[in-house]
Structure formats: C-alpha cells, structure tokens
Symmetry: C2
Subunit: 472 residues, 2 copies
C-alpha cells in the first residue's frame, strides 16, 4: 500500500479492535489493523499472528478466489512488527488457540495491505522481551533481553504486554493522585523548573546556561508550593519533572523523575496533613486494585509480583518505635541516627511480618537528620514534626511541617550554618503572614515500581535518565 | 498566640469558612481563620475586615465582658495581611455591608488570636492590586500596581480575587484537557526534559551541564510522543514543562511554560486527529463556561473581559481561504508565506466578524513554512497536512500529520539541508513499523490568557520565566 498521506478517508471500512473480535457475529466481515507478530507459510497457506497492543489473533491466508499464490508468498515475507490492514471473516474454531489471547476464533483473510514495514533484522524480539522471569525455566533465562538492550531500543521494548500495562497503570497513579486531591479541595499549580538559586544548598544540582547568566534546575517544587500556601491557595498539588544531579547508579535513583508534590495549610496540628496524605495513598491503592486489575495481572505474567497489601487507615509508627523494632532484630543504632538503606528494608520486612501491610507511615524523625526548615517537635527537642512513608520497605515520600515563622526560620538556618543571603527570598515569602502548613513529595516512578514489586526504577520510567543514560 | 508547632489539636474548635457563614444559624458561635484585610479603631470599638481567599466579612470588637480595652487597642494595631483566629458570634445586620462579600451579617468577636504577623510595611496593598482596570476611573488608574512590583512580590499579588480565580481556572484547563482525552481513550505519558541532542536543530535551546557532559532542555515532547505512538500506545498526551531559549520579550512569550501535548495514531486521514483535537477544545470551553463561572466573573471584576465565543463543531478554514480573506481586507501576501503576527490578529477579527467565534482551526499550511517532518498535502505539493488553532486571533496550537516513513523522512530532511547524523535516533524510531499519526502542542498559559481575554501571559503563569526574570 502507498504510504498513508491522508489522500483518502475510507470511511466505509469499519475497524474492529482485536480484543472486541469475540463480540462479532459468526462469519462477520471486519477490518483490523495490527502488527505481524509471527508468520509461517506452508505451501498454499500462511498462518499469521496479528498483534494489537496486548491482544493477539490467529489469521489464515489460503489461496482462493480472494487471495493469490503471490499474496500468500508475500504475506510470509512481511517482517515481524510491520503494520498491516486486513479485511477478514471472523471464523469460530473448535480447538482453543493457546498461543493467542483470542482463543475461540481466527480470521480468514480476504485482503491484506502492508502499511508500514519493519526492518527485517530487529535488535530484540518482542517474544523474548516478554518472556516470564520465572527462575524454574532455564531455557527462558538463557534468552532474556538485558536492560540496556531494552532501553536502547525502547520503541520495541515498550510493545511487550508487561510494558503496555506498566505505563497504563502509571497513568492511573497520576490520575488517582490528582483526582483524590481535587476531591479533597486541592488546587493544581505549576512551578518553575529553572530557578535562579539552588534550592537546597547547591549540592546535586544541574546548572543551566540562561542567556548571559547561569541558572539551576529545581530539585523540588517545595519553595513554590510553600509560596502558594502563603498566597492563600490553602491546599495545592503539582505533578512535574524534578532533577537530581546525584551520581547514584542504583536500582532506585534517576537524575530526572516525576514528582507528585502536595502542600497544605492546617489549623493546629500537622497530623491533619499527615492523615490527609495517608488517606490519599489508601484511595490510590484502592483505585489501582479496583480499576487496574487487568494491568496488574499482565505485569504478573512476566514478573513475580506479590499483591500489594495495605491497611485502612494506614499503619502509623513513630521513629522511636522503629528503632526499638530494629534493635530487637539485632541492629545497633543511635536514637538520632537516620535509617540506613539496609535498616529501611529490614524494617519493611519486620512491619510486614507484624502488621501485614506493604505501606506504612513513620512519624517523628530525629531533628538532626532533617533540613533546617523542618519544625522541631514541641514535646521533645530530639525529634521533629516530620515523616517518611514507605512501600515494600522503601521510602517513597518525605515530608514535614515547615517552619512558617520567618524569625524562627532564620534561627534554625543559623544553627545549620546556612548562608542567610542565599535563602533570603525563601524567608521573605513568610513575612506577609503565612498559615502553619505541611506537605510532602512523592517519587512517582518509585510508587509504580514498588506497587508492582518490580526490581528497577528504569522499568517504570518510559525514557529513564541516569548518570550514564541520556538516550533515547 | 505562640507559634503553632502542633503542640495541641484543638479538636473542639469548629471552623467555618467565611463563604459559608451565611448558612450559620443566627447568633451561632463559630471559629474563623483569615487575614486582617483592613482595621479601623474608634474609642472602644474596632472594625476589622477579615479576608479568607476571595471572601470578606466585617468583624466588630467592642469592649465588653469578653474583650478588654487592651484587646481592642491590640486588634487595631495588627498589620494588614496578618493571620488571625477568631471566636465570634454571627449577627445578622439590617443594612447591607457593601464593602464585604458577606453583606448580610457581621461577626461579633469573643476571642482573637494573632497567628502569623505580617510586616507593617507591605510592598503593595491588596486593595490596590485588586482595583478594576476600567478606563473611566482616573483615580484607580493612578494607583495601579505595575507588573514588576506584582511579580517581585508574587506571594502578595496572588492573594487578589482575580489571581485566586485565574489560577483556579488554570487548574481547570489542565483537568479538562486530561479528563476529556482520558475519556477518549488517551494514555498519559511523561517525557524527559533533559535530552542529549537539541530536538529541533539547536536554535533557541538551553544547555545543561550533565556530569562531565553537556545536555539540553527539551523544546517540546514531540519525539517522545511519536516514540510512544511507534510503541503501540495509540493515543497519548502529556502535560509538562517546555523550554524555549528565545530572547523574545513580548506579551505572549515565556522561556518556560506548560505544554499540553497530544499525539494520536489514525487510520487513513489526519482529519480524524484534527477533529479529535477540535472536539477536545469544544469540551474544554464548555467545561470552563459551566464549571468556572464564578472564577470568570471574579476576573471580570478587575479586567474588561468579553465572554469567550465558540462554535460547535469548531470553525475549520483552509490556509488559502484565510489568505483570500486577508487580501480582501487589503493585506498583500504570497500564497506560501506564513502569517505575520499583525495578519494573525487581523484574521482573528475578520473571522470573529464573519463567523462570531473566538476559536477556529486553520488547516493546510504552506509546506514551505513547516518543519521537515510535516507530511506534504498529497493533492497539492504547495501545502501540507498541518494546522494551527487560534483563540482571540492568537495561535495556541500548532500541529500536523508527521511523516511516519523513515525513507521519506530522510528525503524531506535532505531537502531542508538537515544534518542526518543529528536526527538518526529520530528516524530510527520509525524503522520497526509505525502507524500514521498526527498531533499537536498547546501552550497552556496562552489558553488561559486568551480564554479570559487578558493582555499578558505573565498574568497566567504563577511564577513566570522570561529572558529578564528568573525570580521569585
């Protein structure tokens, strides 16, 4: 077929989705567009599996009054992954076709058009990239596609059923986050990514050339969320790119990720905010469980995933309780020491064993391990009004009550030996009256990774960025 | 009152929103939190206007068994914009209070606590920043707050009723865009902002230092949207920051703005996409009209805004028709010349006069004025399958059918004298089968500005970035 240049509309052709074929009447004539997943010719027949997103259907071309011998031969020569249009008859089959998602029918092809040909040599096979990662299948393990090959050829890799599901579920995470907060009266805002001063001290920040000057990429929207609170927006959230120039090459760090951030004024106690965030997660987990079961199952076809467990309301522990649990398990640590990554993971296992939940909130972190703008605990100077939240033993949110009093903020900044001239604009934001407020920032890709129980954050970023990868 | 450090919960205090006070029973005792908008003391009485977001209510402190003389004096001394908590009795008044939004009642204060004091000297007065811009009021014109003062003190400026409304409506634009497209089967994606190669030739692109290398900030998510299409996501949208290193100091250019982008595979004709985008705008305009009437009215209190008019389905003209209309109005231009900014505006007026719509679609732009990846018109080589959309005579969307055939893409790139090695990754995305597709990118702040009929894009960016402004 000639390249589609919008010369014709073909309005008479009624296209049916592969997943809807089972709703067609017996012997119905349909149009279908999809990719050649596999094809196999034998004499006067060609069997072809057509794939459309995650659905597949078997198609048969046989030499007859519609199909010439040349056509059968041509069909067998179409490279995998090419896009074709078929006019075909829906035929019910007696024996289930185990190799396709549509198992009760096949398509008898009347016409076939090649729309977009793939290269004959593919850098990876969709079948290989889709193979289950079960450890009891030595054959499958041998032909696993490694991660760099996948990412280098992301356009192909993203076509696997698991990837189709992961990124649809990811869209669901963002939608649920926004919908739940909007229902709670939050307003969405947009915060600048290019900033004039490094927001959190200047370490780990990317520099941008800005006309004749230099600028930076924002490591978080926090100052801007807080300004929106000082500007009477009361409850705000923002979804956007966040940048970290950290040379961390781990399974859970990216240099650019999507932040789900929120900030909220409260009346008298930051637990008003903590409970709002906790409930937001509960609603998100319920929404995923109820509306994305098909996607969760598709990911489970390839990866070993334990269902995600959560309590309602969520479990809330204090930092001191966590330290006690860790000590009981043999970990040696000080009261005011931050959690190491191994302790964090161990704590996740201890909490899971004791409370049967993959999500929990840890409140009252030691003041010493939090930034200068964190409000100290009024009852115990060693602690602070700050919290982290965890999924499957890994941190996915960090937040706190922020100091809203400019004089006290200066006092705390001085104790941290911070150059006051560099944070003048931040402090000034609170000089015209500001309500007490708290908030937090969530790493979106981490939420998706940990909800699905995946082992690497590059699986949940469509085009991941890390210290060694800037392409595609 | 002591700084709120979350020491107490005060769960017994039932707070009422100022806008809900009229639903309270006569003589009800309530708690209210808000800002001191104005205060005026006379002897043993103090009249104070309390503001909460865009709502205001008159409050009376009089020396009595609850309120001491010192308290009245103290109340009169609280700087404007400070945040206070009031315990008060709701009292109906006989004469309407014209100066407040709550006109039928006032609050008789029983207790007053100062939560967060504002500086006594404010860089701008909310009253001045809120003043209507009507040209028949010479007094108001004299004390207008200029734009740089507003932006330098954005935390104060954002508190005006018009700004509170603008950014709530802006959140509505994003919500509607996403909800309408999600209902049409689109999937939300996230695309990287840091890219290894300048996407559109290298002009007007910001450079980022990336560890030991250099990288760029994406001028558009286009390549990534197209890769998502090639990866079988079928219909995708993305909302995110877009960067233009253009030294344009105009009323409608920003160096960083929010892009509302979409891309969609189609069957045979790009009008399938064009009509989807057109209908998306119609649904957005209806949603704004129906759900944001209060916000539109609040903006209208300060700025002269003509209601936004649109047709359903939207008006669609071809570029050649527009040229004919402009020539008839005296403009001299060639068939294959792009629209100049004055022509664009004049055309908006001509279209409005003839068709009574503030929104229209212009299809079939000259091929010569569009990028190399634009699909030529199969019927007339002078034109292309590309389109712009306009609101009140200014472009808010640019889009096209993209060339999905790698060989033809190379041919077109060569004609544009583009260095093929620099776009190899782009071309490779189409080598593994890609359906025909089209899409477009919308400037979010422009949509809000033009929907409301405002005169400057800095009014619709919460923290705008232009060549001369990087703060706050």
């Amino acid at each position: 077929m000639k390249m589609i240049q919008s010369a014709e509309k073909h309005a008479e052709r009624v296209f049916v989705k592969v997943s809807d074929l089972s709703h067609c009447k017996k012997d119905a004539q349909v149009w279908v567009r999809g990719r050649v997943h596999t094809s196999r010719c034998k004499g006067k027949q060609c069997f072809l599996v057509l794939r459309q997103q995650s659905s597949t259907v078997q198609c048969l071309l046989a030499v007859n009054e519609h199909i010439s011998k040349q056509m059968v031969k041509f069909s067998g020569s179409i490279p995998r992954e090419s896009i074709i249009d078929l006019k075909a008859k829906v035929v019910l089959v007696e024996q289930r076709i185990e190799s396709c998602t549509e198992q009760t029918l096949e398509l008898h092809v009347l016409e076939l058009f090649l729309l977009s040909a793939a290269k004959a040599q593919l850098p990876l096979q969709i079948e290989d990239a889709s193979r289950p990662e079960k450890s009891d299948d030595p054959e499958a393990l041998k032909i696993r596609v490694n991660q760099d090959t996948r990412l280098d050829n992301r356009v192909l890799d993203l076509r696997t059923p698991a990837n189709q599901a992961i990124f649809r579920l990811e869209a669901g995470v963002c939608k649920l986050f926004r919908d739940v907060l909007t229902a709670k009266g939050f307003t969405e805002i947009h915060t600048p990514k290019i900033i004039s001063a490094a927001s959190e001290g200047g370490a780990n920040v990317f520099t941008v050339s800005y006309f004749k000057d230099s600028a930076y990429l924002a490591q978080s929207p926090q100052l801007y969320k807080q300004m929106a609170i000082a500007a009477d927006f009361d409850k705000v959230f923002t979804v956007g790119a966040v940048f970290r120039a950290e040379d961390s090459n781990t399974h859970r760090h990216l240099t650019e990720f999507v932040g789900l951030d929120l900030e909220m004024a409260f009346k008298y106690h930051y637990h008003e905010v903590l409970d709002t965030i906790g409930n937001t997660f509960t609603e998100m987990f319920k929404g995923l469980r109820d509306n994305y079961a098909k996607e969760i199952a598709a990911v489970g076809q390839q990866y070993n995933v334990e269902p995600f467990k959560f309590l309602e309301p969520p479990l809330k522990l204090e930092f001191a309780q966590a330290v006690a649990m860790l000590r009981e398990a043999g970990v040696q640590m000080d009261d005011e020491e931050d959690l190491s990554t191994p302790s964090e993971k161990l704590l996740g296992r201890l909490v899971k064993a004791k409370y049967d939940t993959d999500f929990y909130i840890l409140d009252k972190f030691p003041l010493a391990v939090r930034p200068f703008y964190t409000m100290p605990d009024p009852a115990n100077a060693k602690y602070s009004n700050s919290y982290d939240m965890f999924m499957r033993g890994e941190e996915i949110l960090s937040g706190a009550q922020r100091i809203h009093d400019p004089e006290y903020l200066i006092e705390r900044a001085k104790l941290h030996a911070i150059d006051l001239s560099k944070i003048a604009a931040y402090i000034d934001a609170f000089r015209y009256g500001c309500p007490p407020h708290a908030g937090g920032g969530i790493g979106m890709e981490r939420v998706v990774m940990l909800y699905l129980g995946l082992d690497n954050i590059r699986k949940t970023s469509m085009f991941p960025r890390d210290p060694k990868r800037l392409t595609p």
